[in-house]
Symmetry: C2
Subunit: 396 residues, 2 copies
């Protein structure tokens, strides 16, 4: 098995504790030194217990030392008992690592509305902690998977001043991936020294062009969490909220998060093709995003991509239904680089050219509205019969 070295001062592990039948279901990320932490949570009005707890904890801007994540149960819509269970998990982790409970974040993913079985977590904790290792990232990435077909990891190494800095990210999320905060769970660990303000700013910015720019089925999870931890062990001069150092940091964070986001889309439940929707020339960036989301979330468009049907009419119709202002007579539509519709007119094309579109694993839809400078890119996947099977005959 490949192993990836964690940034300095971080350890991780993932084990099977018994919440799921066979696969790993419990992961731990640990830092030897206190970390600054930035985090974003789901905007769904229904929030899982660990999300409620995490939001409350992070308001106090604590020094984070560990993140415990279980898969197999989302601990969501589980009422007061769910909150107690999440606290119990944090307390157990703190005790096993000999750190304060207030430095432990907890996440859960899996089935909604079933009480947590904390038994397997409690009894698995010592094995989980014993196995912590600077090479444990992939085990941890596996422990957070649910319907994911592969684990998702991305890394970067870069230099700030004369110091080498490392960054790794892991994520999970296949179905239930939505336009706002598409990953169910994502964790980025870095040994950079960076101010809390800069950390928050970088996470928001990167999130916008990565997890917030992907969509699989338009549904929004109750458990979405992305957290960025920085422990300062690289010993670099501290990165502030602007300037060249910040730009380098942001650039690498963008890379890690976009890698993870694209992996999530590629792993969309039952997806066969990945596609990129680019909208240019909108009146504003927000309108470009709205149009791109409408195209990417249209079930009919997903079907067209699956079937290799260059149905630019569905592109136009989706934009029309999105509610943004545009003029079809000015619009261009390109599919896989071939112009099908130009300034409101159908382009006449040779049959062979038409038939070549949407035949590869990666598809490309580009629209120019010729109204302004607003631009957005959204990444998504097609929908297949397998998606329907996976989500229909999945037992709660």
């Amino acid at each position: 098995m490949v192993s990836i070295r964690l940034p300095k001062g971080f350890l991780a592990n993932g084990i099977h504790c018994g919440l799921k039948k066979k696969r790993k279901d419990l992961s731990l990320f640990y830092s030897e030194k206190a970390c600054r932490c930035a985090a974003l949570f789901t905007t769904n009005a229904v929030k899982a217990a660990p999300v409620i707890l995490g939001q409350k904890l992070l308001k106090k801007n604590p020094a984070i030392r560990a993140i415990l994540v279980n898969s197999g149960n989302a601990n969501c819509m589980t009422g007061k008992r769910g909150l107690d269970d999440a606290k119990k998990m944090a307390r157990k982790t703190a005790a096993a690592l000999n750190i304060p409970e207030s430095t432990v974040l907890v996440s859960s993913t899996g089935i909604i509305g079933k009480p947590m079985q904390t038994g397997p977590i409690m009894s698995g904790m010592s094995k989980l902690v014993r196995g912590l290792s600077p090479d444990g990232l992939i085990h941890a990435a596996e422990g957070i998977m649910t319907t994911d077909r592969f684990y998702k990891v991305s890394t970067r190494r870069f230099v700030i001043g004369d110091k080498k800095v490392a960054m790794v990210g892991v994520a999970k999320g296949a179905g239930m991936v939505n336009p706002n905060m598409a990953t169910l769970l994502g964790y980025i660990l870095t040994d950079a020294d960076i101010s809390k303000k800069a950390l928050d700013k970088a996470l928001s910015m990167s999130n916008e062009t990565s997890f917030n720019s992907i969509t699989v089925d338009g549904d929004m999870s109750t458990n979405d969490t992305v957290a960025l931890l920085a422990n300062g062990e690289a010993g670099n001069r501290s990165i502030k909220g602007k300037g060249r150092d910040f730009d380098i940091f942001l650039n690498n964070l963008n890379g890690v998060m976009l890698d993870l986001a694209k992996m999530i889309v590629r792993d969309g439940e039952g997806a066969t093709k990945f596609f990129e929707v680019k909208v240019r020339g909108a009146r504003t960036k927000a309108e470009a995003k709205k149009a791109a989301d409408a195209i990417a979330n249209s079930i009919l468009m997903k079907c067209a991509v699956l079937g290799g049907d260059p149905n630019w009419g569905r592109v136009a119709s989706s934009i029309g239904a999105s509610g943004i202002r545009f003029n079809p007579d000015l619009m261009d539509v390109k599919l896989d680089g071939v112009m099908f519709f130009k300034k409101g007119k159908v382009v006449s094309l040779k049959k062979g050219k038409v038939r070549s579109v949407f035949k590869k694993k990666n598809a490309d839809i580009e629209v120019n509205l010729h109204l302004g400078t607003g631009e957005a890119v959204v990444y998504t996947c097609d929908i297949s019969k397998k998606y329907i099977t996976l989500n229909s005959f999945y037992t709660t």
Copy 2:
């Protein structure tokens, strides 16, 4: 073949003219006397040529005598030529019937972005007109079908004062059916005498609880049109915008339009189950509608209904993502009449009871938010592998 008598003074017909390979593709509705007309059109920013033309025509409040409808080509995104073609179709109809061009409405449905072939329509016109008959409704209903598996017709007979009044409706629409104005095409014909104001009011009201309350895939068509024609041939005292006569008329119109709307959902491309989503106790009617739409349009929820999985967690998550304000701790969720979640708590149920849910052709989701008196019902269908096939390998 069953035949349905049209209301007094109306004739109809449907033929195969050659836009499609074999099936009927051209329909005509004709009234011997001038009709008052109320109509609603798509809110998609991309509008087909006949929609643009129809909206313009109806602004002048003309006396309508005929509606010509073709299937096989939507005449949408066809630029100036499309407008000319739609006008040509109206002109030809007017000439064949010897009525003014300004009394003819035109509709089209089918593929977007291909120029109309008006040839077959021009040459089929005399046959179409020759075959007009008071028993021609079903032929006309067949001529407007695209991917529909069955024609959609509903009728009502009622009494205003001492006069018998008749009303018939036809519709088409399978995929591309969306939350706003879900039918692609719907025409209601009545021999009632009713004021223009009352006609407009009745159509808007009925549309809200029928075509605007159904959804198949959340996509919005560029061609949606619903028109209500009244020719006054019943000789009843004229119906005004309020009072008992109006209520009787509205009640019957509601019946016809809801019948048609439900038939459209039942015919949702590849659908195997019909389901009703009722949201009660929302703060407002609009919030109830928003929540019900979010549940009905969730691909994951559609999959759960298909698979017979009583996944109430997806109901809660959809409402959470809809953006309305609600409190999960107050919420009840019933599936097929079985309470799964009550006042924020999971109800413990016997396995047999859980397994009986979503097993029939009709499914039922009812949510009570316990926050106010807002209420809405939305009708929809599940999504199946067949839907994916139909929409993926459909050639443009």
